[in-house]
Every structure is written in C-alpha cells, then in structure tokens.
Amino acid sequence: MSLERIYLNARGAVGAPEVWRCGATMTFPSPDPAGVRRRTVLLGAPAAAALIAWSTPTAAGAADDDYLAQAFKALAAYVVPGSDEYSKQQRLTTQRPGGVAAGTDVMLEETYDKAIAVGIAPLFEVNLPGAAGVALLLDVFTRVRYPEQPSGPFQHPFANLGHSQKALVLADLDTEQLLEDSPIGYAFGTIITLTAFGCYGERGVYNPQTRVLRGRPVGWDLAQYDGVSDGWPELRGYWGGRTSVPDVPVLLDRAATDGQGQHA
C-alpha cells in the first residue's frame, strides 16, 4: 500500500482499513494493544501500522472531524482548554472558547505538512510524512502509554484521554531519547509549542488568499491583545532625557584593550 493510501486511510478519507502495510516486507503482530510494550515499538516492531487498524472499529466520533483534526484539536484543548467537546472529553473545560475554537488544528496541519517531507519517525515505524505522521506518532504513544485503549467518541485515541492522561503521553514524547536523536527532533520538541502558537494566533479566522481576518481571533480575546496597529501612543520619553551616549573615552579605551605589545 502506498504512503498516500495510508495517509488517506489515516485521515478516514477512504473506507475502513484492514491491516495496512507500510512496506512490502512488513509483517504484523497480533493486534493486541495490551501486549505491545514500549521497547518493542522502539526497537522497530511494525506496531504503528497495526495500531492504525486497531483504531478503526470506533465510529466517526462525536464530531465530524477526521483523524488528523481530532489529533490536533485534542492537542489544542490540552494546551488551551475551552468550552468545546474536546475539552469536555478531557474533563477540563472553561466557560469560553479555547484552542479548539481558535482553529489551531488548521494551522498545525498546514505547518507539519510543509515542515516534514519524510517519514517522521522510522524507528517507531511511523513512516508517514507531514501532519499525518505527527498524528500517528501521537496515536502510537497514546496506545503505548494506555494499551487498554481509553474509550470515547473519537477515532484518535489521544482525543479520548483526560487532561492529566494527555500530559503523560506528551511527557513520553518530550523525554523519548530516540525521538530527540531523530533527523527532525525539533518537530517533537515543538508539538506543544506550535500548538500554543496556534491557539493564540489568527489562523482560524484568517483567509490567506484574501489576507483578510473574518473576525477577531480567539487568542486575542484570551490574551486581551489590542491587535495589529500602525502605532500606539506609547512613547514615554528617554531615560534621564538621554537621547544619545558618548563613545568610549580614548584613554580608558587604550588602557583596557590595547595592552602592551599584544596586538594581533
């Protein structure tokens, strides 16, 4: 099966998958998540492809979001909880829109698709590029941490976790040495960071074709940001009225820096 096919399957864009192969030589373990040990994954057992298959029995989920959107919205809810269903599922909500309403998933998908052109973590058998690779890696780490498969309305298992459970999965991602040594180690270290950037950014209400904001970004309200401006009446003057400083006195300069016969 081609990477494209796997990608589309991962996104739920084609019919329910059977057991997918990432390569012609790949074989599959028994689909018993409880039997998957973390080191097994680390050593390259082809668990990831099988894990995708294990994720499919659940229905589309409470939302109509696809697999990738679920992964990234679950991340957004973790970083900035709100009043959305992902925040409710993690049992940590607020009374106002949060990272999900900010459209963070759109920004993350765009970013990772542009950033990662190769299989994201071959050691984990996650050979998908781009956003699909990140979503699948999150899937793998969720299932390794919680092999009993947390139940819930979402296809992506990370989206079914409680907030504190998500924290432990992300801690695994954050501290896994093999990921740090990968060619794109930065991509893992910045998952939470890019998510936060998206939560407080404008992408959810920004049309890149027209370059027009459709509304006020959620993050601007959360941070009480006054927005883009051509200027602000913020000038408070100069420290002690000082608008310039003198250069170094010549005598001090020579004494301190020339030494005696030590010119290069």
């Binding site: 970083v79 924290a167 930065y186 939470i192 960071t193 950037f197 920004y206 913020e234 000038l235 820096t257």
Partner: protein, 587 residues
C-alpha cells in the same frame, strides 16, 4: 567577469555590496529567498502569517509559500529560527546594536580578562576595530532608544537592583541602559497617536511589530522606515550607489536563486575563488565568474555551500564552533499595565561583561505563548523534563499549559519579558555539517545543525544560570507578583562562528581580514565569520562592522583602492540623495 559576487542578501552581504558599489565596482548579489518589494501590501503583521517559522512570510524558505520551507536536519530539540529573503534575519530582528564586549578582543587586559572565552578571541584589538563600529553606527544609523511603558518598568527594576546606568557605548561593569538600536527615533506624531502617517510622523511608531517586519511609518520611503533591517538601509544604498557616491555604481540584485557551487582555480597556495554556479526559480543553471567571491549566506548555509562545493577544509573547522547565546526567557506577571505587546522589540538591556546580558522584549500573544511553552524543563507542575536547570528563583519553570497558561497569559499587556543572552563558549562539537539522512534538495546535501546543549561548557551553563537569576531579581524589583522561567532548549535566534576567524590557524577558517586561509579571494561576511559569541551582545552590528572591514580589504588588496574607514565621513542610509533615488526608482 564581475568584480565581486556576494552570495546572500541578509545582514552582512548588503554591507559589502554597498561599500564596494560606492567605489564603482561591478557587484552582483545573489539571494536564495524572495525580495519583499512592497511589504506594506504583502505583510499582514499577523503572527502566524508572519512568524510561523515553517509557513510564514518570514521563514527560511522560498518566496512561493505553497512550497515547503528549506529542509534542515535538526536532531535534538534545538530549533533554528532564521529568515531568508532580502534583509535576511534582520527582517525580524529587533535592531539591537550593542558593541561586542571588550574582553573578547585580542590584547584585552581588563581585570576580568579571564572571564571570557579566552581561547577564541578576535584576532585584533577593539581599538583597531572601533572605527568600523563607528562607520556602521553612522550609516544605519544607530541611536539611543526611547522608552515605552515596558522599558520604564524594566529599567526601574534594574535601578532598584542597585545597578548603575552605563554612560558610554561600551559597558565596563554590570550596568543597565537603554538599547543602542538601529531604529530611527520617533519624531512628530510617532509614539503619540495610534495611526501616525509619514511625514507627520517619522521613525518608530511603537507599533509592536519588529518581529513581523517593519513597514512604518505608513507612507515613508523604504529607506526612511523605522527599523534599519538591511532591506530598509543597506539594500537601498547598494541599489542606488550611483546616486549618492561620486563614481558609484548600483549593485545588481538577483533573488530566488540558489548558489549551488563555488568555483576555484589554481591549486595549493595559488588556489583562489573564481565564480559561482546558481540555479534560478525556473530550474535553469547559470555560471558567473568574478575576481572576488563573498559568502554571506548565513551561519548554516555558508558552511553548507563550502562543503557541497568541495572546498578545502584542512583543519576540519568548517562549520564547527557554533555559538547561539544559549538564550532563555524569564517573564514577570504584573497587576497593572506594562505595554508588553507595544513598542519596539527591545529598548532596554542589562550588561554583565564576561557573562552576557538580559534584554526586555516585546511579544504579541502567539509568540508569548510560544515562549511560555518552549522548554527543556518539562511541563510546569507535571514532569521535570531533561534539563536539570533550577528555577533561578522564579516561582515556576517549564512549559505552561492548560489553566496555568490561560491564567498567565490572560492579559498580554500585564507581562514583562526578559531574554537571557549568554556569553557562551565556542565548542567544536556544536556545528553545521551535511546530512547523510535527509534527501538532497536542488543544491545538494542539506545541512545538519547540531547543538549539544546538555554538553555545554561549565562556564556557559554558569553564565546562563547567573543571568536567569538576575532576570528573576529584576522582575521582582520591578513589581512582578509572579515570575516564570521557561528554560528554553536552544532557540537559535542568534547564531555565530561556524566559519570563524581567529588567531590560531589550527582552529579557525578565516584570517583576521575575513578571507579564507586556504582559498584566496574568497571572503565571508555573515555571522559565521565571528570568532566567538561576542560576550553576549547581539551580533548584527559586529557582523556589519566586520563586513565593512572585509570590504575595505577587498578594495585595497584586489582592486588597488585606499582605506576609507576612519578617514572619510560615511553617508547615512537616510541621506536625502538615497531617499530621492529610492522614490524615483520605486525601490
């Protein structure tokens, strides 16, 4: 055959081009990224649109944003944050222009001389170099920064720490000061009203968008825009040299072209640069020959180009010795207004000679959220992470997520943010090399950037911890009710010294004039030429002064010219002759 080809139009390349175009040389400048000819229309100043490091208009990638960013192997959790295009990383810089610490130069005899990276000093004295600083400071120009609310808070906190005010351009002891910035001081209505317009307003309008690129005041000619990124200063000058210099000749600029090879001729001691091959955006290949080639493609791309060209590397130091100021962030939360999202990127700083510095920075909310969640110390209150760093006296350390992030960032204008800029040691193991893993791009093997931050020298780590503690103390003295330390992994905003010059031929690539030790007529004029991390001061001014010195060397050694720095009076980039030419030519 050209006189000079300059590869790269970022912070350093346009300096060489401008200085040599002034003397009538035939200069061709090649830039891999786009030229932002009408940024006032094309730049939104929205954070994701501008600063998403992989998809934004200020990224390391081609001008066509439907295409992916340039591929770089970055093992570990370090992250390189540069910008390609005309102006390079100065497009998002803060314009901070401190001179390098005196202790990083040869011949320094101060009582604290042993506190610096003593094995990797500049191969000349500060006294010898100072005229080049003055030349660049007059050209940009560099001016003393005004204050907004956040700077008042910051400097009041510094004064409450008992630090003295630095009275000159070169701190000799721990002290505080307004920044010396390459930002035009506000005039007229700038800084006084919300929507100022040129010419009623001149200089900095306190918009808060240094990191998204400077296009203000509205209506100002390109060379009169407030921040002196090279697209607003040296590039207009290099393209109009015939208009402001007698005998000058405008440089030629080609953008969206990738140099794929530097050519040489001769061998042994007579080996010299002879030209370059480059590929344009349509995929066509071109060859240009020149009497002198100047590499200014940046700390990552310059050593990469050297290596993929197969140029000699006899001592193995090409790409090695990367320094980055090992930055960190300390943020104070206040009960009242700080104006943290408004004003210039940074207008105030502390200097600790021999250790580095701390500067205030302006962050809109998405970048502030980025800064709060980038950490090598795990997640605050959840797990400790890998760093082992302490809080340095802060109330919390690590990533802020969930309710803690929402609460801390509930009002971006009640924060005060301090960037720790460490005097870090040159270590050979930190380097740029070629990737064996990732696919090649059109130019060849892609670069691999390695920063082993958990293997930093004891001095580097001690300096960083000291500075973080000072930043925490400043926040408390300034009135913060809560202080947070991020403990960043390497967020490489400042990068230097991968093609370093030095006194020791066995540990340096360049001689004291920025010329290759093994390939004559091949110069380097970007941050990679710096011999060290400057003691902590921001690098652009020093790189531009070094590029000016390299240009003077090129003219005198290879074109029969005479030195001019310290003898002539520099033409400033805001000179009326430059402005007239910029307007007339639609630049």
């Amino acid at each position: 055959m050209r006189d000079v080809i300059v590869v790269g139009c970022g912070g350093g390349g346009p300096v060489v081009a401008k200085e040599l175009a002034r003397w009538g040389l035939d200069v061709l400048v090649l830039e891999s990224g786009p030229r932002f000819l009408h940024p006032e229309k094309d730049w939104s100043r929205l954070e994701n649109d501008a600063n998403n490091p992989l998809t934004g208009y200020l990224r390391t990638g081609p001008g066509d944003r439907t295409k992916a960013a340039y591929t770089r192997e970055q093992p570990g959790d370090e992250f390189v944050w540069q910008v390609s295009g005309v102006g390079g990383t100065t497009l998002h810089y803060f314009g901070n222009c401190p001179r390098a610490s005196a202790g990083v130069f040869a011949g320094y005899l101060g009582s604290d001389a042993a506190n610096y990276d003593t094995t990797h000093r500049f191969p000349f004295t500060l006294n010898e170099f100072r005229p080049y600083y003055r030349w660049v400071e007059a050209t940009l120009p560099v001016q003393t920064a005004p204050l907004g609310t956040k700077e008042e808070r910051f400097l009041n906190g510094a004064a409450a720490m008992g630090l003295p005010l630095c009275e000159t351009k070169e701190p000799g002891e721990p002290s505080f000061r307004p920044q010396e910035n390459a930002i035009l001081q506000p005039g007229g209505t700038a800084g006084k009203v919300r929507n100022p317009r040129f010419p009623a307003a001149t200089g900095c309008t306190f918009c808060g968008h240094c990191y998204q690129g400077c296009v203000l005041p509205v209506g100002a000619p390109r060379n009169l825009r407030a921040k002196r990124s090279t697209d607003n200063s040296y590039v207009p000058m290099m393209l109009t040299a015939d208009a402001w210099a007698a005998g000058g000749r405008a440089a030629e600029l080609r953008t969206d072209v990738h140099v794929t090879r530097v050519h040489t001729t001769g061998w042994g001691d007579s080996l010299r640069a002879s030209g370059v091959t480059f590929r344009d955006s349509a995929g066509a290949t071109h060859r240009e020959d020149a009497k002198v080639v100047v590499l200014a493609a940046g700390v990552v791309e310059t050593p990469r180009l050297w290596l993929i060209s197969g140029l000699p590397n006899p001592n193995g130091w090409v790409g090695c010795g990367l320094t980055d100021h090992y930055p960190d962030l300390v943020t104070g939360v206040f009960d009242d207004y700080t104006g943290s999202s408004k004003g210039a990127g940074s207008n105030a700083r502390l200097d600790y000679p021999g250790r580095g510095g701390v500067e205030n920075i302006c962050l809109p909310p998405a970048l502030q959220a980025f800064a709060f969640t980038y950490s090598d110390s795990g997640t605050s209150g959840v797990y400790p992470g890998k760093s082992g760093a302490g809080s340095a006296g802060a109330d919390s350390i690590g990533r802020l997520v969930g309710p803690e992030l929402v609460d801390t960032l509930s009002d971006v204008d009640r924060l005060l943010t301090a960037l720790v800029i460490t005097d870090d040691d040159v270590q050979r193991s930190n380097r740029v090399e070629l990737s064996w893993v990732l696919p090649e791009d059109g130019a060849g093997r892609v670069p691999r950037v390695v920063m082993r931050h958990r293997e930093r020298s004891a001095r580097t780590i001690a300096n960083r911890e000291f500075l973080a503690a000072q930043a925490v103390t400043l926040m408390r003295r300034a009135g913060a009710r809560r202080v947070h330390r991020s403990d960043w992994p390497p967020l490489m905003l400042h990068m230097h010294s991968t093609m370093r010059m030095g006194t020791d031929a066995s540990t340096s690539v360049l001689d004291s004039w920025s010329e290759s030790r093994v390939v004559r007529r091949l110069f380097i004029a970007d941050n990679s030429a710096l011999p060290n991390s400057l003691g902590g001061p921001n690098p652009t001014l020093t790189t531009q002064a070094l590029a000016t010195r390299a240009a003077e060397r090129i003219l005198t050694r290879y074109f029969g010219g005479e030195p001019w720095v310290g003898q002539d009076t520099p033409v400033t980039s805001v000179d009326d002759r430059v402005t007239t030419a910029v307007v007339a030519r639609g630049l």
